[in-house]
Amino acid sequence: MVDFIAQFGLFAIFAFFTGGAALSLIYSAYGAERESWILSHLFAALASLCGLLLAGTVLFASGPLSFHLPFSLGIGPDILRFQIDTLAAFFIAAISIVGIAASLFGIQYGKHFLGSYRLGGFGFFYNLFIASMILVVIANNSFLFLLAWEGMAIASYFLVIFERHEAKNISAGMLYLLISQLGAAFLFAAFLILYALTGSWDFDTIRASAGEMPLLVQNIVLALALLGFSSKAGIIPLHIWLPEAHPAAPSHVSALMSGVMIKTGIFMLIRFFVDFFPTAGISWGLIIIVLGAVSSLLGVLYALSEHDIKRLLAFHSVENIGIIFLGLGASITFFSAAMPALGTLALIAALYHTINHALFKALLFLSAGSVVATTGTRNMEEYGGLIKKLPYTAFFFLIGAVAISGLPPFNGFVSEWMTFQSLFAGIGTLPIIGKITFLVGASSLAFTGGLAAACFVKAFGAIFLARPRHEHAHAHESGFLSLAGMGLLAALCALFGVAASAITPIVTRVAESLRAASDIAVPSAPLQSLGGSSLSMSGVAIAVVFGVALCGILVWIIAGRRKIVVSRTWDCGAPLTSRMEITATGFSRSIIMVFRGLLQPSVQTDVEYHDVETRYFTKKKKVELSLTDMYHAYLYSPAITLVEHSARQARRIQTGNLSTYLLYIFLTTLLLLFWALQ
């Protein structure tokens, strides 16, 4: 069986994706839109299932697999080289799990688009998108990798602009494509430099010759890679596409984009900084930690100020990528400082948080999608009390919220705990600059954890609890398949938390495989190591369950026997209405004001009085809280102005005279020739 999966698994994956894409177009062409949608998602789920089986085979049985197809694609020999090592298998597993859940959810989600849009194209790009992500992680050749990377960007662009009747979605897609191509330009430059130095597009050759490259060239390549892959990962200040593109895309696509697509950037950063260039240098590790600290803290602060549920989740992606960066940066620092055991531990933390974020973020996006689909709005201020109408969705959202807040016994706690351990270890062992940077990272992570919890208290409270602030009479629970998609992810969030002791060794094997030659004495169980601090997640889970049960019993004993007395409210009082509830904006206002120096909030108050003359009694008061978009104001706008100015200057050479253009060509040819023959 293992041999069969190892031999045909990859073929099956791409056969299903191709089938899904083709059938989607064919059925749509014949007007069977519903069938087109269902088949495309069904095939994507089956392909993802094959991906999961293949990843499991590599991780547990067969070991790394290599494939080589002898086609040149008209580009050059040996382009189609694939390698599924344990790192690639780990990411295939993450992509496949989220792929299965999103596809199951999507099958019933499509009814919202029936009659409004042609669905064939969506199915085609949906399958292409997931297939490209898998291709990105298994490509063992720069050319193939860049093809897959661009395929992923283009497919996801078309998914982002799927609801094209809304102009905002088109501009969101354009911004996404722009940043994506900017990042790709850096990557092209990095790979071209590597090709110039090694004479090969193959990753194996790059890996073998990376150490012999001049230090300056290594640093240029690493800087280009960091810029290119960070733009996809969504690190600040290259994150601006995330809060625009995620809300624009259909929810299960947002789950895939936020859950796994941005992780392909992390995957390649690990490839470059740990696998290709294992001696990257301490400074690179510290830079990545600083980037991670800034992104995690600012990401969660921006999320706090949001009342658009999907934008809020998008900003949490920025925050969590920041946390992954903290682990990755610590790992690079430790490896460069000849502390391989700690380096591996930090890498385990980064990898663990990568898959954890994939799980809980996908779960949150799917739950949010369920809410948005039934209410027709993304504005949290218009929700309230939805737990009564969407009880299962509320339960799954709660699991995701607890997990992302880093609370036990769910998975987010485990990886954040391990990241803390790594950072504390650095504070204790590194030289002074390292100590300070790690301290900044640890402080940022501590702040982030608390603020994330506050943010999800706000989100869960505003969406599901209290009284409805708007009437959503037709709101109803999602269908079975949608709930199954969410349920699968919720169960995995719990499993990756409670069974962390069993899962950590698998992640350890992935991390160790990248540094097999360095003879690392990795702790056998990272959860129970480092200065005597130890953790039993099953014990924590039992304690949490016991604590919740105890609280429930106490509440029941104290309050359960009380009779509910219905009587008139006191004089001058008023009946309770939803207007008396604290809003999402109101909840976060106090926290935002604490960080007002950093966030530069602006508050706009609109008051309406009963008597305009006296202005004693307020009839209605509206407070709008917004943040200054610093990145636009201080980075992108000046850059755009500079480009526009340059373009205006460049237009001077555009005379409209053909002969002048020919003269330019002539002179350029002469100059190039002169230069080439010198």
Partner: protein, 218 residues
């Protein structure tokens, strides 16, 4: 192959000489006739090459060149001259002495910088063809009329084909067929484009076209 090299050099020199004449003549009809002569030289060069290599494909290529470049393209261009007579400018930006000086400078540059690099191919004719290529580029830049630009591109292509043959770059029938087909399409499009320009602006002289007159085609 060795015995044909002097002949190829003669053809290369002919192409260069015809390019010089193209830069000097002031009548559009003469320009087209010079292009015709240049294409005929290329055809003969290809026939010689096919004979020396025993390639039937190259013979077909020569035949195709004869049909497209010697017969069709000049006929097409002459037809346009008759059709738009009075609207096709033959004026140049530089006068004849200055043009000759510029061409001399271009040739000197080619021999100073390009010739040493081409020495490994053992053919001095390659340098003269490079000078021919630059000379046609100069022709397109120097002339005001659209026709000179079209003929310049076609003449440039003639020099490139012969240069490739001299440098020993593989010269299959498929390649030559593709190039000739490309030229045929190019001439057709250029002719159509000229018609549209004339309809839109009432002129074909590229230097006098006013972009402000541009309106959407009905």
């Amino acid at each position: 192959m060795i015995f044909i090299l002097p002949w190829l050099s003669i053809f290369a020199a002919s192409l260069f000489a015809l390019m010089l004449l193209m830069n000097l003549v002031r009548k559009n009809t003469s320009l087209v006739m010079l292009y015709l002569a240049q294409s005929l030289m290329l055809t003969l060069a290809l026939v010689l090459l096919s004979y020396s290599t025993g390639s039937t494909g190259l013979l077909f290529a020569a035949l195709l060149t004869l049909v497209v470049k010697v017969v069709m393209a000049p006929a097409f261009l002459l037809h346009m001259i008759r059709k738009y007579h009075g609207h096709l400018s033959a004026a140049s930006r530089l006068n004849v002495p200055l043009s000759l000086l510029a061409l001399a400078a271009i040739t000197a540059f080619t021999y100073a910088y390009v010739a040493p690099a081409l020495a490994q191919y053992g053919s001095s004719s390659a340098s003269i063809l490079f000078a021919c290529i630059f000379g046609t580029l100069f022709l397109m830049t120097n002339r005001r009329g659209a026709l000179a630009e079209i003929v310049g591109v076609l003449s440039l292509e003639n020099a490139v084909v012969l240069l490739a043959a001299l440098l020993g770059i593989e010269h299959s029938f498929a390649l030559e067929f593709a190039i000739t087909f490309d030229i045929a399409v190019w001439v057709a499009i250029a002719a159509g484009f000229l018609t549209m320009m004339y309809r839109q602006f009432g002129a074909i002289d590229a230097a006098t076209l006013e972009m402000t007159h541009l309106t959407e085609e009905e």
